[in-house]
């Protein structure tokens, strides 16, 4: 670790690329007979937002769900290859799925708050994990991080289901942040929201980058352009291209990518 810090502090002309929190190597995912993801190799760098784009059914959500083993719940799903979290293989090491999901949080397509109070939505998971700190402080901090505090500070004991869809989704983000995850996975988090709510979530994602690493699946190209540092394009289960977002959108290396971002298909 210390050598790493030292190496970083030496001024070089080329800035060293940020450390990869998640590394995917030769990943295949099968559902029974069909292959949803084929030979994907990808890195998710620390404190960046990685967007995964591609047409419906290209395997982008499946890939994302591998990062915290949510595919375990899909019957007949098999995963081959490696997913490394801080260099540790999440499928074959002694790393427990429960511990993994505390370190890699997830926000789903549709807001799914618990049918409990706003406060209980935040505190439930930390309490289950044996959190010993100040729960009031945790609730306020995570709601502030999710840009929801000012709207709900006076009704923390009211039902989470009384919130609007956009507020519910921000609550779900706050709920994930309460576990202090290293990586936050988002599976089309704005697809059920209106444009105003979407704008607020996007703003939030850009801010989260300071403290967290985010991997987000989206079918909205403009959204990827607005929020992502790096963008990966998938097509028919294969990772076609990954690079800096600006590069990928202005100078795609692959013909397929160019066709997709110029709207020729998808």
């Amino acid at each position: 670790m210390s050598t790493l810090t030292k190496a970083r502090s030496i001024p070089t002309k080329v800035p060293s690329p940020p450390r990869a929190v998640l590394e995917v190597r030769g990943l295949d995912v099968h559902y029974g007979e069909t292959t949803a993801v084929r030979d994907v190799t990808l890195e998710v760098p620390e404190n960046q937002v990685l967007a995964i784009i591609g047409p419906s059914g290209c395997g982008k959500s499946t890939l994302l769900r591998c990062f915290n083993r949510m595919n375990d719940f899909v019957p007949g799903c098999r995963v081959e290859g490696e997913v490394l979290l801080d260099g540790v293989d999440i499928h074959r090491s002694s790393l427990d799925a429960v511990e993994l999901r505390q370190r890699v949080g997830m926000v789903f397509q549709r807001p799914n708050p618990f049918p409990k109070s706003i406060r209980a939505n935040i505190t439930w998971a930390p309490r289950m994990a044996g959190f010993r700190g100040d729960l009031h402080e945790l609730v306020e901090r995570t709601l502030r991080e999710a840009a929801l505090w000012d709207e709900v500070r006076d009704k923390l004991n009211e039902s989470a289901l009384s919130l609007s869809g956009g507020q519910q989704q921000r609550l779900c983000i706050a709920r994930s942040l309460a576990m202090s995850p290293e990586v936050l996975l988002m599976d089309e988090p704005c697809s059920a929201l209106d444009p105003i709510a979407t704008g607020r979530i996007e703003e939030l994602i850009r801010e989260l980058r300071e403290h967290y690493t985010v991997a987000i699946v989206t079918h909205n190209l403009q959204q990827a352009g607005r929020i992502a540092d790096r963008t990966a394009f998938m097509y028919q289960g294969v990772l076609v291209e990954v690079g800096e977002t600006a590069d990928l959108f202005t100078h795609p290396r692959e013909k397929k990518t160019e066709d997709y971002i110029t709207g020729r298909f998808g």
Partner: protein, 310 residues
């Protein structure tokens, strides 16, 4: 002229027939509903007319007697409450845990399919067979000889006790309870489970804090069904040897007992006309207990629904 008028020729005259069919079905459905309702109402009126004059405080406070005027329901009333109470304590935890295993833990292949099939079939087994099972397994315990053998203070075999009756009835109602509970668990949206797992909860934490509370109204419906059945069952208790003439109330789960349906059956089969009316009075008490029990569970269910913040 509208473009499609040709294809809709005769629409107006057909509409009259379509409307008539609609009305016809409505009345047919109403008739089907009233068959059950009217039959029950006739039965209820008959029972109330015959039984109400005999339904006195003495009836509830007397033990059975050879003379109709002195015959009371006390032993059967308390016997039923003991047995059904103990049945609840035995079958609800086992039934709910069994359903949770099948729905939340077990894989959905091979062994799971086999269990599913077995439970569905068990629900259809005639209750008298459960009585025989109870007689062999709980009352006699495969004829283990020692009359006063005991294990951890529990007398073995159970003999014709409240405990043996409750164990037998529990086996009888478990399949129904498990199936209804599974339906209730299946109705809980998957997104709720994924939310909990995505936060690093264990399966049990997810079930205990989210799935079971969400399913509890449905589970309580299953409990109503199961307990109603347990309260009304006669055949298995007769076979396993519940007594027909009892002049005491149980004081522990090891005491012999009789139950309301057995006592009613016993009275109804006597030749004296007055005993028919005594039986009717017994039926009224049985129905009152049944309704009271169901009302209690429905009250619990409404509270469970309200306590979930919506």
């Amino acid at each position: 002229m509208r473009r499609d008028e040709y294809h809709f020729e005769g629409f107006a005259s057909r509409l009259v027939r379509r409307r008539a069919k609609d009305r016809l079905f409505k009345w047919a459905a109403l008739l089907a509903t009233s068959v059950g309702f009217v039959a029950l109402a006739v039965l209820l009126v008959g029972v109330l007319r015959a039984g109400l004059p005999w339904l006195t405080a003495d009836f509830l406070d007397n033990f059975p007697s050879r003379t109709p005027a002195k015959a009371g329901f006390k032993a059967a009333f308390w016997g039923s409450l003991w047995v059904v109470g103990l049945t609840t304590l035995i079958c609800v935890p086992i039934g709910v845990a069994g359903a949770v295993y099948l729905e939340e833990y077990s894989g959905k292949k091979g062994f799971h399919k086999l269990l599913e099939l077995l439970i569905a079939n068990l629900a259809g087994v005639p209750s008298i067979l459960y009585g025989m099972l109870g007689l062999i397994v709980f009352v006699r315990m495969f004829n283990i000889p020692a009359e006063d053998a005991s294990f951890l203070g529990v007398q073995l075999p159970f003999g014709r006790s409240v405990l043996a009756g409750a164990c037998t009835l529990s086996l009888l109602v478990l399949p129904v309870l498990i199936m209804v509970t599974r339906e209730a668990l299946r109705a809980v949206p998957e997104s709720l489970r994924l939310a909990a797992f995505g936060l690093g909860a264990t399966r049990w934490q997810c079930v205990r804090h989210h799935v079971l509370p969400a399913a509890s109204p449905g589970i309580l419906t299953g409990v109503v069904l199961a307990l109603s059945r347990a309260l009304g069952e006669t055949a298995p208790l007769v076979v396993m040897g519940a007594l027909t003439y009892v002049a005491f109330t149980p004081e522990s789960v090891f005491d012999p007992f009789t139950a309301m349906p057995i006592q009613i059956f016993n009275w109804a089969s006597r030749p004296q006309a007055d005993f028919q009316s005594v039986a009717a009075a017994g039926i009224i008490v049985l129905l009152a207990v049944l309704l009271g029990m169901n009302a209690l569970v429905i009250l619990l269910r409404n509270r469970a629904e309200k306590s979930r913040i919506r």
